[in-house]
Symmetry: C2
Subunit: 316 residues, 2 copies
């Protein structure tokens, strides 16, 4: 399998991406080929220092970079030679089976939607975030910002997408799906969650366990928690700030250390036709290594194919 | 001033309320009279053990109690002799100037809206929650669950109500108002926050500083943070769970210790005609003492009057 990696994305590019590849190669899957996209000279210079044999990778020069502050659609249109644009070209033409970047999130989303497109039947692709449970497990909260306004049908689709990811990639059997809400009982909620509850309850593709309150997000009640992207984004950033505070206050605690979101190595865009993984802007080596591992797993398990099957079934 | 206290509300009634009064009396305001509403025999028995002189309080018997699980409207209608119903009767007839309870939140809200009613011009009264900032300050987040679905005008009113509370009760000069959102820049957000931003920006009653992200809630960027009650409720309960985790993991940290929400002693219902304070179900003595102090301050400063003035002005 061929995995394309944007070497210019993130605050510490390309060094941390190179370091991540170095770690990855120590446990390399023989069947994986890495395409490194970015400033050839800059990357070339780093490779020998990081024990990356030229045979293990293919370098693809990108003359441009989309910066973090740039307008996604405009930048992608104007910078056809950027690492992100080239990554999606490789993906769309089948030369790569997955594309990873810690760069401009908006550009990654726009690129995914316009080049490899949403899977038929998926109204709104989504991105989630991992939530570290106190018992050591990992939950998936989605959407976390891509879809600020949602309809009940969108939340139902997030539940299906999240379940498939949890089952095949996080290896959770029969993932429990919870609906983020302001009360536990059926009937509680705002207009959106009240209308979403019966859709989740009556859907046979998912294992719906009911409403989940804010206080339950970090407990191991559900493996997949669905919400619209507004609340999800606020919760994610609030949780990130908890980690910042814990760091600043020099609290060393096993559970709170797991709030270090960059360790999880990025989240997939769920609902598009091929594996696309978006990393945090502050991604370090471990994050890059983990993103490659997740991409491998998504390709191996053919997650996109499994999503297509579920959504075809749903249409019948 | 006369403050009515529901002695039967909360998980540790009436003992913790009695203990709270005991602490309060050590720093008693001479002008304050306390009306204790509840099971006369049960309370009577506790008073001598807690150094509460009969002269300092007036006991008012309530033969019924509205339990935490009861349906608010139904319970209030059927239990006219409950401590909550009697409290609102005292408030509505002017015998009490403020009413405090750690009992059934829904019943407290229904009681407030039906007996003393919303201030003219206030579309939706609201309740907020304190957010402990890392620098030691306290912010007010509102709404936290009363109004799950909101219009932009509701959020604007929450901003005005929260500002008046922060200014007169929390003693913050020119409170900074932030709009909880998923991005900092103007134009970001869901339909609701995009439409709310210009209303806040153009309103001269408040000191609007722009959007506040989830990661900024615990920083001292804004004194008052407004959002609809769905997101506010999820954030509040998430923050409460952080405190639970900190406790369970025996982390002793000054900042996280301030996440102990019961210490703040309850939040006022903002936008109704008289001071009503709702405590957490798990309120202990300190919380009850603090609720009495907040009630005193709300009466002294005539917060309800100041809200009335602002909303009359707004109508002109």
């Amino acid at each position: 399998m061929n995995i394309a990696l944007d070497m210019m994305g993130g605050d510490f590019a390309p060094l941390e991406a190179v370091k991540g590849i170095e770690i990855y190669l120590q446990q390399k899957n023989a069947a994986t080929k890495l395409f490194l996209i970015g400033d050839e000279t800059a990357i070339q210079k780093l490779l020998p220092q990081h024990a990356i044999p030229a045979d293990d990778i293919t370098l693809i020069h990108a003359a441009q970079v989309i910066e973090m502050y740039e307008h996604p659609t405009k930048a992608l249109k104007e910078k056809q030679q950027s690492s992100i644009a080239i990554g999606f070209q490789l993906l769309a033409t089948g030369k790569a089976d997955a594309f990873i970047s810690a760069g401009n999130t908006g550009a990654m989303m726009v690129g995914a939607l316009y080049s490899i497109k949403a899977i038929e039947g998926v109204m709104r692709p989504t991105i989630g975030a991992y939530m570290p449970k106190e018992n050591g497990n990992l939950g998936l909260l989605l959407d976390v910002g891509l879809n600020a306004d949602c309809k009940p049908e969108n939340l139902l689709q997030f539940a299906v997408l999240g379940s498939l990811f949890a089952q095949h990639i996080l290896q959770v059997e029969k993932p429990r799906v919870g609906l983020l809400n302001l009360g536990e009982e059926e009937g509680k909620g705002n207009i959106l969650t009240q209308a979403t509850f019966p859709l989740l309850k009556n859907n046979t593709l998912i294992n719906f366990i009911g409403n989940i309150e804010g206080r339950d997000v970090l407990l191991d009640k559900a493996d997949v928690i669905v919400c619209e992207g507004f609340t999800g984004n606020v919760i994610l950033k609030f949780a990130e700030s908890i980690y910042d505070i814990v760091q600043r206050r020099r609290i060393d605690d096993e559970h709170f250390n797991r709030f270090n979101f960059e360790n999880y190595g990025g989240v997939p865009v769920l609902g598009v036709n091929k594996p696309v993984i978006i990393g945090h802007g502050i991604s370090h080596a471990t994050a890059f290594k983990n993103m490659i591992l997740i991409a491998e797993r998504m390709i191996e398990k053919d997650l996109s194919g499994k999503i297509r099957e579920s959504f075809v079934m749903r249409d019948q």
